[in-house]
Symmetry: C2
Subunit: 341 residues, 2 copies
């Protein structure tokens, strides 16, 4: 992670193959999500629909379903009812954290729409988040899968701790890489790991398979987050990512920035001090930061780290039986990185 | 509930007898609470300690323990380990809702201290609430009691729905009594009910006992909330309660106010419209509102309703074996009302 390396060209990968395989399963999960976000208090389904129906890729519940399918690819008859409820729970937990994050960060947009708290107020957003979180646990209880409950309860507490850690260290240019990885591992990768693991547990997979799918999820989550952090400075190409600059505008200490700060120590300290610590930033400053991040190889190093995690994710799948589900999961791991390069 | 009634003097009751009986059990619950609110992220235990160690009466976990003890009063050897974890979970859920409520309401004080969000910020308060909520579910999973998990998961979703309902109807003078009771049943009484029920389930009580303890908790919670709402207008005596006037200052539509509005229809409409709907309130207005609430018998009617629920709570205990725990729970029900008269 310290210096740019020459690497063989990486496979592109995609999420489409997996989405196509899981289409019928995910339609059932979506129906469950819509059914269980209902409440006699009218604003709750309204707000929930605004954020959930807006879609997004449903990557986490997709991972739960894919893990359940990949773990049972040798079976002809698989009962996915439990895994589907767990997948819906995962999406509810994820949505609850998004609602609370947007209040916490004062974000203005989410999934291409106006953030819910700007329409219904912060109070309602916080409380509907609480409702979705509680509803997730109600759904999990229905599965009777105490072990899956434990996995997702623990993931929820790890996520909250990661969010608080990020909040207290977000603008800290002295953040070490280890702490940065601890933060993204907790706030992002843990739910990917729990999503995949609970899918395996939901179909009573053996321990080796369950551990492999958890490892896949964790590494995939790290790859996704690192690639996201790189995308914010425009990927490795000269074309900017679609939301480029948001992290910089918020003064967030992500890996590309931390590496660039370290690599320009002694000559750009005043620039970083002003733009990140003091929060005095212009659009020109973003362009300059981006030049430094690309010029020092910080962006390449971040993408290399993402690629390493994607490779680790793929490697952990090797204990599973070969087949279309395993192939599609491999494609997803490649996609995590390729979308940012 | 429509007109003041002449009633026999009520027993005073107290919470001390129950607290004394449960002293050793509650010390163990407290130790568990402190142990499980720890986190490597320093601000989490700091904030949690600020609100949890500030104490309060620990009424809800006390109810869980008392229910477990009352349900097993005929047994010589009782394993309370599970019930204690459930009691700690109940306190974590309650604390999480307090943290979120104070952010939502912008409250300045809680349990005699400055509200956490004014010290650590709203963002941290929301996220530490999320952490405590997740930690509650982790603790519940450890008990292996899927049924207790279901009870507390459902209570959590009912509470969140009640909070949202209150938020959308809080300043509505046309709120009907049925909706008001639905709100306080959801936001307050449901956790009392779940606390008592999960205590019974935690010691594998029979169905009749479990249902009786749930009914006790629900009615007790309603009695407590109605008495709280009365206390805000100074109780039935001429001396003011310690936080008197807060509900009025926030324009909250509680039962004493709703009854007074209904009983002065046609002659005080402008006053209520200005002070509640428009939110233009002076200290003189509070004194006038209080006079109207006392003068129309709205306060007495509210306390009568509280007394009816306290009596229902006591009646539901009759299926339990007589003994010191049942006596102490009866004393608690009486105390719910007597502290406000």
């Amino acid at each position: 992670m310290t210096a740019p390396r020459a690497k063989a060209p990486r496979p592109q990968g995609d999420v489409e193959a997996l989405a196509a395989l899981a289409k019928a399963d995910m339609a059932a999960v979506d129906a469950l999500i819509v059914d269980r976000m209902q409440s006699p208090v009218p604003v709750i389904p309204l707000l929930a629909e605004h954020i959930i129906a807006a879609g997004g890729k449903r990557l986490r519940p997709l991972l739960t379903i894919a893990a359940a399918r990949a773990a049972t690819s040798a079976s002809t008859e698989v009962d996915l009812a439990g895994a589907m409820k767990l997948a819906a729970s995962v999406e509810f937990i994820h949505t609850a954290t998004l609602l609370h994050d947007d209040v916490v960060d004062g974000s203005e947009r989410r999934r291409g729409k106006v953030a819910a708290h700007l329409i219904w107020g912060s109070a309602t957003s916080v409380l509907v988040g609480d409702f979705l979180f509680a509803r997730a646990f109600e759904l999990m209880v229905e599965t009777g899968q105490l072990r899956a409950l434990g996995i997702l309860a623990q993931a929820s507490s790890v996520i909250a701790q990661g969010e608080v850690l990020q909040l207290t260290r977000a603008h800290d240019l002295n953040l070490d890489q280890e702490t940065y990885l601890r933060i993204i591992s907790a706030k992002t990768a843990e739910l990917f790991a729990a999503a995949a693991e609970s899918g395996a547990v939901g179909v009573s997979a053996d321990e080796k398979t369950t551990a492999a799918l958890r490892a896949f999820g964790l590494n995939l989550g790290l790859a996704f987050q690192l690639a996201d952090d790189a995308l914010d400075y425009g990927g490795s190409s000269e074309t900017l990512g679609k939301n480029a600059g948001d992290d910089f505008r918020e003064g967030k200490a992500t890996l590309p920035l931390l590496l660039a700060v370290a690599r320009t120590r002694g000559r750009e300290d005043a620039f970083w001090e002003r733009t990140i610590n003091k929060g005095e930033r212009t659009e020109d400053d973003f362009r300059r930061a981006r030049e430094l991040i690309i010029g020092t190889g910080a962006l390449t190093s971040t993408l290399d780290a993402a690629a390493d995690y994607a490779d680790a994710a793929k490697a952990s799948l090797q204990v599973l039986l070969a087949g279309p589900w395993r192939d599609a999961l491999e494609g997803l791991a490649d996609f995590a990185v390729s979308r940012a390069t």
